[in-house]
C-alpha cells in the first residue's frame, strides 16, 4: 500500500527536523574539538573559580551584616520579631551590595590565576582517579549489602503478609537508589594524595587572593572542598565539565553568540538522540500501514513507547549499556515462564493462569536439591529434571480438570492458580525439609526467601557471559531460553503439534480430521505445566533468590502479558510472539522504571510510577486478549 500524500508531508517535515537536529548535533561535536571552545571552557573555569571564591566573600559579608544588625537591634531593644525582620533586611541589603561588588569579575586580571588553576587541576587528576575507583568499589559493596538486607528483612517477616517477598522490581529499584557515602573511609594512599594537593592549592589560593584582595585567609580551608568540586569537573568529560561550571552561572559571562555555541556543544549528544527519534518517527509515519499490518497495532504502540523510553533514558543521562544489560537479563529470566503460555493457547485452553501448578513442581524439586546441599550444574539439572517429572502427572490431571470445564478455562485456571499458591502456603510449613538453611530459625517450615547464591544462583547467567560495549550478555541464560523456544518450535511442526494447534484454533475442524481434541488439550496443558516448572527454576537462578509462599502468585499475569504484547491472542500464538513479547514487555518495564526514577526524583512518586507502568502494561496487554486476531 502506497503512503498517502499527508503521510509524505508529515514524514518530510519530520525528516527535515531530524536533519536539522542531526546537523546541530554534529556541529556541536565539531565545536567541541575547536580551540575557541576549549578557550571558552577555560574562561568558564576561571569564572567559576572566581565566582566560588566571591561567593564565599559575599556569604561572609552577609553573615557579618546580620550579626551587626542583631547587635544594633538588641541595643535598640527591638522585639524578638522585629529583630528577625531587621536582620533579614540588613543581611539582604548587604548581600545585594556585595554581589554587585564581587560578582562582576570580568575586569579582574586572570593570567596568574589561570596558570595556578591549571596546575592545581593537574595535581588533582591523580587524586580524582583514585577516589573515583575507591568510591565505586565502595558503592558496589554498599549495594550488595542493601540487597542482602532487603532479602533478610523479607525472610524475617512473618508469612502471610501481602508483601513478604521482595520482587525483582524492588531489587532493581534498590540498585538505582543513590549510594550513601557517609560510611566511606578513604584509604591511606588516597589520604596521602589529598595531603599532596596542598602546595598546588596554596598557590592557587594565593593567586585568588591577588585577584580578590578581600578574600580572608581563614576562608582558605572552607573553600578547599568547593573549589575541588569545581575544578575537578574537567576530569569527567565535556558535559560534566560544562555542567559543573554552568552551575555557578559561568555561561553568563559570554556574549550571546558564544553562549549559543557552547550550548550546542553541550547538547550535541542529546541533539543526536532527538534526531534519531525524529527519524524513527518519520519512518514510522511513512511506513505506518505495512508496519501496522505486519506487527499489529499493539506492538507498534509498545515499540514506539520503547524507543521513546530509550531516547528519554539518553536525555536523562541514564547508563544506556547498563540498561540494556538489565533488559537482556530480564528477557532471559522471564522468557521461559512466558513460553509456558504458548502450548496452553495453542491447545485451546487460552491463557493458562494456572501455570502456578507447574511453578510449584519446579519449586519443590529445587528445594529437594537445596535440601541435599547440591551445587552447580548438578543441582540445576537435578532441579530441572525433577521439576519435569513432578509436573507431568500434575499437568495431566490439571488438563483433565480443564476438559471437564470447557468454555470457562480462564476463570478456572485463574482460580486454580491462586488456590494452588494458597494451598502450598500451608504445604511449605508442613513439608518435611530438614536442612537448617531452608527452614525458619525458630520452629518448623520453610523460609519465604532462599538465597540461590551458594547452590546454582546466576549459573546460567554467567555461563559464557561476556560484555560488548558495556552491555553484559547473559549468554547461557539466553541460550537456554532460545533452546526451549526451539524445542517448542519443533513440536509445533510435529504431527501431534499440528493437531494440537488446529484443535485449539478450531476444534470442529480438527475433529473433522479425526483428531482427539480433548487429548490434545491435555497434552498442551501438560507441556505448559512442565515449561512453567522449568521456567521458575531458570527464573530463581537468574534472580538469585527463590521465593515461596505468595511469590509465584503474579507469575501468570506477567507471562500472559508478555505473550499478549508479543502479538498472540487468546486463541492463537507462535514462538515468535513469546520472544518479541518478553523482550518488549521486560524492556519497557525496566526502562520505564529507570526513566521514572530519573524523571521524578522523589522516592515515593517514582515508586508509584513504577507500579503504574508495570500494571499499566499488563492492563494494556489484557485488553488485547479479547481480539479475534487478524482476519
Amino acid at each position: 500500500m502506497k503512503p498517502k500524500k499527508s503521510q509524505w508531508i508529515a514524514a518530510g517535515l519530520l525528516l527535515v527536523l531530524a536533519l536539522g537536529l542531526l546537523t546541530a548535533g554534529v556541529w556541536g561535536f565539531v565545536l567541541r574539538g575547536q580551540p575557541a571552545t576549549s578557550d571558552a571552557m577555560l574562561r568558564m573555569r576561571n569564572y567559576a573559580v572566581l565566582r566560588t571564591a566571591a561567593g564565599a566573600i559575599v556569604n561572609n559579608i552577609y553573615l557579618q551584616a546580620k550579626l551587626d544588625a542583631r547587635a544594633y537591634a538588641r541595643a535598640q531593644k527591638f522585639s524578638r520579631n522585629q529583630i528577625t525582620v531587621y536582620m533579614d533586611e540588613q543581611g539582604e541589603l548587604a548581600r545585594k551590595a556585595a554581589e554587585e561588588k564581587y560578582y562582576n569579575t570580568l575586569g579582574i586580571d586572570r593570567t596568574e590565576l589561570s596558570l595556578a588553576v591549571e596546575s592545581f587541576e593537574n595535581s588533582l587528576s591523580e587524586y580524582s582517579r583514585l577516589e573515583a575507583a575507591e568510591k565505586e568499589a565502595y558503592a558496589e559493596v554498599w549495594r550488595e549489602q542493601q540487597a542482602a538486607l532487603a532479602a533478610q528483612k523479607a525472610s524475617e517477616e512473618t508469612v502471610g503478609t501481602e508483601d513478604e517477598t521482595i520482587s525483582e522490581d524492588d531489587m532493581m529499584a534498590s540498585t538505582i537508589q543513590k549510594v550513601d557515602y557517609s560510611g566511606f573511609v578513604p584509604s591511606a594512599e588516597l589520604a596521602a594524595l589529598y595531603e599532596a594537593l596542598t602546595p598546588a592549592y596554596d598557590a592557587m589560593y594565593t593567586a585568588l587572593e591577588n585577584a580578590l584582595p578581600d578574600l580572608e585567609p581563614e576562608m582558605k580551608d572552607k573553600l578547599r572542598e568547593p573549589l575541588i568540586m569545581v575544578v575537578r569537573g574537567g576530569e569527567s568529560g565535556f558535559n560534566a565539565e560544562y555542567d559543573s561550571y554552568a552551575a555557578t552561572g559561568a555561561q553568563g559571562a559570554f556574549e550571546s553568540s558564544e553562549k549559543t555555541r557552547m550550548l550546542v556543544a553541550r547538547q550535541a549528544p542529546n541533539l543526536l538522540m532527538l534526531a534519531f527519534g525524529a527519524l524513527t518517527a518519520a519512518l514510522s509515519v511513512l511506513y505506518y500501514r505495512p508496519l501496522q499490518r505486519s506487527l499489529g497495532m499493539p506492538r507498534l504502540v509498545i515499540s514506539a513507547f520503547f524507543i521513546l523510553l530509550c531516547i528519554l533514558a539518553g536525555l536523562y543521562n541514564i547508563n544506556v549499556a547498563g540498561m540494556f544489560s538489565t533488559v537482556l537479563w530480564r528477557t532471559g529470566m522471564y522468557g521461559v515462564l512466558a513460553l509456558a503460555m504458548l502450548p496452553g493457547i495453542q491447545a485451546g485452553i487460552s491463557l493458562n493462569m494456572g501455570m502456578t501448578v507447574g511453578i510449584i513442581a519446579g519449586l519443590v524439586s529445587t528445594l529437594v536439591a537445596l535440601e541435599h546441599n547440591m551445587t552447580g550444574w548438578g543441582a540445576f539439572f537435578f532441579s530441572v529434571i525433577g521439576g519435569i517429572i513432578l509436573a507431568l502427572p500434575i499437568g495431566f490431571l490439571y488438563g483433565k480438570l480443564l476438559n471437564h470445564l470447557k468454555g470457562s478455562e480462564m476463570t478456572v485456571s485463574t482460580y486454580v492458580g491462586f488456590s494452588v499458591v494458597s494451598l502450598f502456603c500451608i504445604a511449605w510449613m508442613l513439608l518435611p525439609f530438614k536442612n537448617p538453611k531452608l527452614t525458619w530459625a525458630l520452629g518448623s517450615g520453610l523460609r519465604s526467601m532462599h538465597n540461590m547464591g551458594d547452590s546454582f544462583g546466576q549459573l546460567l547467567d554467567d555461563f559464557l557471559s561476556f560484555e560488548v560495549l558495556g552491555v553484559r550478555v547473559p549468554t547461557g541464560l539466553l541460550l537456554f531460553f532460545l533452546l526451549c523456544c526451539f524445542i517448542m518450535w519443533l513440536f509445533s511442526r510435529s504431527r501431534t503439534g499440528i493437531a494440537m494447534i488446529a484443535g485449539g484454533a478450531n476444534s470442529r475442524f480438527a475433529e473433522a480430521a479425526g483428531v482427539n481434541v480433548n487429548k490434545m488439550r491435555i497434552i498442551g496443558t501438560t507441556i505448559s505445566t512442565v515449561i512453567a516448572a522449568v521456567g521458575i527454576i531458570v527464573y530463581s537462578q537468574s534472580f538469585g533468590f527463590m521465593q515461596l509462599y505468595n511469590g509465584p502468585k503474579q507469575m501468570g499475569f506477567v507471562s500472559a502479558s508478555a505473550i499478549l504484547i508479543g502479538g498472540a491472542t487468546v486463541k492463537r500464538a507462535k514462538v515468535s510472539h513469546v520472544i518479541i513479547g518478553t523482550f518488549l514487555f521486560q524492556g519497557v518495564l525496566a526502562l520505564g522504571i529507570q526513566v521514572a526514577n530519573a524523571a521524578i526524583a522523589e522516592g515515593g512518586l517514582s515508586e508509584v510510577m513504577r507500579i503504574l507502568i508495570s500494571n499499566g502494561i499488563i492492563l494494556y496487554a489484557l485488553t488485547q486478549s479479547g481480539g479475534e486476531g487478524r482476519d
Binding site: S494, R495, I498, D631
Partner: protein, 531 residues
C-alpha cells in the same frame, strides 16, 4: 374509505450489498383472507416480511425501494413497534414467550391492565397495581378464540410445545386493532393434529376479518387453509392465484421452475456405470441440531454423482455429517461392501471417505493458517504423509507440503498470492477450492460435498461445479453432493435424492418435472419413483 386490500406491498426491491434478494416483488392481501406465501429457501419470503416489520437489518443495509400501503394509506415503517401500531402482528417461528410466566402474563406482557392505587396517585401511573381480574378475562377470551381450554394461569414452561404456538397466536389476537397477522412457518414444530387445529384457528381468525399471511412450504396445508397463494422465486413474483384456480402440481411447478438451462455444460458419460453399490446406508439416524436424519436408507452407485436436495432443516446436511462421524449417529453404513463404523472420523477418512463441509469457515478451514497447511492437514493427521524424520521426531516437511500445495493450486486454479497466504483472506470460491484440495489430498474413493456453492459468487460456482464433474469423469470418483440449489444438482447429478423430514422423500432424475421436485420437497411422495 373502502379499500380492496388491507396490505399492499408494491414493487419491492431490496439489495444486500451486491446481491439482489428482492426485485419488483408485489404482495396484496385482502381483509379477512388467508394468504399463503410460498417459496424455496432464499426466495425472499423472510426479507419481504422483514421489510414489512421495519426490521433494523433492512434500514442498516440501505433500505429498500417500493411502497407499502396499509388499509389504503401509504406508510413508512421504521421499526417493529410502528408495525404493531398499524395493526400488524407476527406469530414467530421460534416462540417468543417467557417460560417462567403464566399464560396470562405472557399474553399481557408490556400491555398490562392496571388500576390506580394510593402510591400511584402520588408518584404517577408507573406504580399502579395490576388488574389481574381484567387481564385474566382478556386472556381467557383470547385463548377461547384459538380453541385452547387450558387454564390461563398455567406456567408457559409446563405447556406442550404445540400449545405454545397457540399462546403466541392468542397474544397477537388480544392486541386491539389487529388487522393482519403473519404466521411464519407455524406448523414446522407441530404434530399433524395440532397443525389441523391451527388451521382451524386461522380460519376462525380470518372470519373475524383479520387477514393472515401464512408462510409455509407445506403445499397441502396451503391447499387446506389458504384462500389465495403468492409464489416468490429468486426474489421475483411468480404469480398470485386464488386457491381454486391452482393445484398441488401447479404450485410446486411455480416454486421450482427454472427454465431448462443448467449452470454449466456437463459432459455426458463415456462409460456406463458398473452398477456396483459404493455406499449403502440403512436406517441412519443422525443427531445433528436443526438437520436431524431420522431413519434414512440410500444406495450410492460407484462412479456416479448423486445429488441430495431438500429444504433447509429437513436433514439433507445431516447425511454426510453423520456418515463421516461428525455428529452422533446410529444405523448401518457399508462402504464398498465393508461395514463402516459410525462416530469415528479417523476410520472414515482412512477408508477413503472424504468430505467438504457445508460450514466452510467453521469446520472447513483454519482461517488463520496458510493454504498449504490447510491442504496438508488431514493427510498429516490420518495418513501420516508429508512428514520427514529428524532424529527421534517426525516433523512436517515444509518442502513436500509446499510442492503439493503448488500442484493443487495449479490443478484447481486457486487464485492466491502464494501457498503461504492465510485462507481467511481468500474469496469464498477459492476457500471452497482449498477445502476440495484438502479432501483430494486424502486420495479419496468417495467424496461428500456439502453445499459447495453456498455464499460464493456465480462465476466461482461454475468453477467449483466444473471441478467436481472433472474429478468424477477423469478419476471415477463417486461424489455425493448436498445442495440447497436444485438447479446446481440438476445440472451435474446423475440422480437427485430429495430428503424431507429426515428421510428420503423421492429419488428423481435431473430432468424430472419441476412439480415432482416441489412436491417431494413438501414431503409428498410422487407416484413415479424414478430410476
Amino acid at each position: 374509505m373502502p379499500f380492496e386490500y388491507v396490505l399492499e406491498m408494491n414493487h419491492i426491491t431490496k439489495h444486500y450489498g451486491e446481491s439482489t434478494v428482492l426485485s419488483e416483488a408485489t404482495l396484496q392481501v385482502r381483509p379477512g383472507e388467508i394468504h399463503a406465501l410460498l417459496g424455496e429457501n432464499g426466495a425472499g419470503k423472510s426479507t419481504l416480511m422483514n421489510i414489512l416489520f421495519g426490521m433494523p437489518v433492512i434500514h442498516s443495509t440501505g433500505g429498500f425501494k417500493g411502497e407499502i400501503k396499509v388499509g389504503g394509506d401509504t406508510v413508512n415503517i421504521h421499526s417493529p413497534k410502528e408495525a404493531m401500531n398499524l395493526g400488524i402482528g407476527m406469530v414467530h417461528q421460534e416462540f417468543m414467550l417467557i417460560p417462567g410466566f403464566t399464560i396470562t402474563e405472557n399474553i399481557k406482557l408490556n400491555r398490562e391492565i392496571s388500576k390506580p392505587n394510593l402510591i400511584s396517585r402520588i408518584l404517577g401511573h408507573e406504580l399502579e397495581s395490576l388488574d389481574h381480574a381484567a387481564m385474566k378475562r382478556d386472556a381467557r377470551a383470547a385463548l377461547d378464540s384459538v380453541g385452547v381450554d387450558i387454564p390461563e394461569n398455567t406456567l408457559v414452561r409446563t405447556l406442550p410445545v404445540g400449545y405454545m404456538q397457540f399462546v403466541e397466536i392468542a397474544r397477537e389476537i388480544d392486541k386491539t386493532g389487529v388487522k393482519l397477522l403473519v404466521f411464519d412457518e407455524p406448523t414446522a414444530v407441530l404434530t399433524e393434529s395440532e397443525a389441523d387445529q391451527l388451521i382451524a384457528v386461522m380460519k376462525s381468525i380470518a372470519e373475524r376479518g383479520i387477514a393472515i399471511i401464512f408462510i409455509t412450504h407445506r403445499l397441502n396445508e396451503v391447499m387446506k387453509a389458504a384462500d389465495t397463494v403468492t409464489v416468490l422465486r429468486d426474489g421475483k413474483l411468480v404469480g398470485t392465484k386464488p386457491i381454486s384456480q391452482t393445484n398441488l402440481t401447479d404450485m410446486a411447478g411455480m416454486m421450482i421452475g427454472r427454465g431448462e438451462e443448467g449452470i454449466i455444460d456437463t459432459p455426458s458419460r463415456e462409460h456406463t456405470l458398473s452398477g456396483k453399490v459404493a455406499l449403502r446406508v440403512r436406517d441412519l439416524f443422525v443427531e445433528m441440531p436443526g438437520e436431524a436424519v431420522k431413519g434414512l436408507d440410500l444406495d450410492v452407485m460407484e462412479g456416479e454423482i448423486i445429488g441430495i436436495g431438500g429444504l433447509a432443516g429437513q436433514g439433507k446436511v445431516g447425511l454426510p455429517n453423520g456418515v463421516m462421524g461428525l455428529y452422533p449417529s446410529k444405523g448401518t453404513v457399508e462402504l464398498f461392501g465393508e461395514e463402516l463404523p459410525l462416530n469415528d472420523p479417523t476410520t472414515a477418512l482412512a477408508k477413503g471417505l472424504s468430505m467438504v463441509s457445508e460450514d466452510r469457515r467453521g469446520v472447513g478451514l483454519l482461517l488463520e493458517e496458510s493454504i498449504e497447511d490447510n491442504i496438508a492437514f488431514n493427510a498429516i493427521q490420518v495418513k501420516r504423509e508429508f512428514l520427514t524424520r529428524a532424529g527421534f521426531f517426525k516433523l512436517r516437511s515444509g518442502r513436500a507440503v509446499r510442492e503439493h500445495a503448488k500442484e493443487m493450486i495449479q490443478n484447481l486454479d486457486i487464485r492466491c498470492t502464494s501457498p503461504a497466504q492465510s485462507t481467511g483472506t481468500l474469496s469464498g470460491g477459492n476457500q471452497q477450492k482449498v477445502c476440495i484440495a484438502r479432501a483430494l489430498t486424502m486420495k479419496p474413493r468417495f467424496l461428500f460435498v456439502s453445499e459447495p456453492t453456498r455464499g460464493i459468487d456465480i462465476g466461482a460456482k461454475s468453477l467449483v461445479l466444473d471441478t467436481l464433474v472433472r474429478l468424477n469423469r477423469e478419476q471415477g470418483l463417486t461424489i455425493v453432493m448436498v445442495s440447497s440449489e436444485l438447479m446446481e444438482l440438476r445440472s451435474i447429478c446423475d440422480r437427485i435424492v430429495i430428503v424431507a423430514e429426515g428421510k428420503v422423500a423421492s429419488i428423481l432424475r435431473p430432468d424430472s418435472p419441476d412439480a415432482d421436485f416441489g412436491l417431494a420437497m413438501s414431503g409428498i411422495k410422487t407416484q413415479e419413483e424414478a430410476i
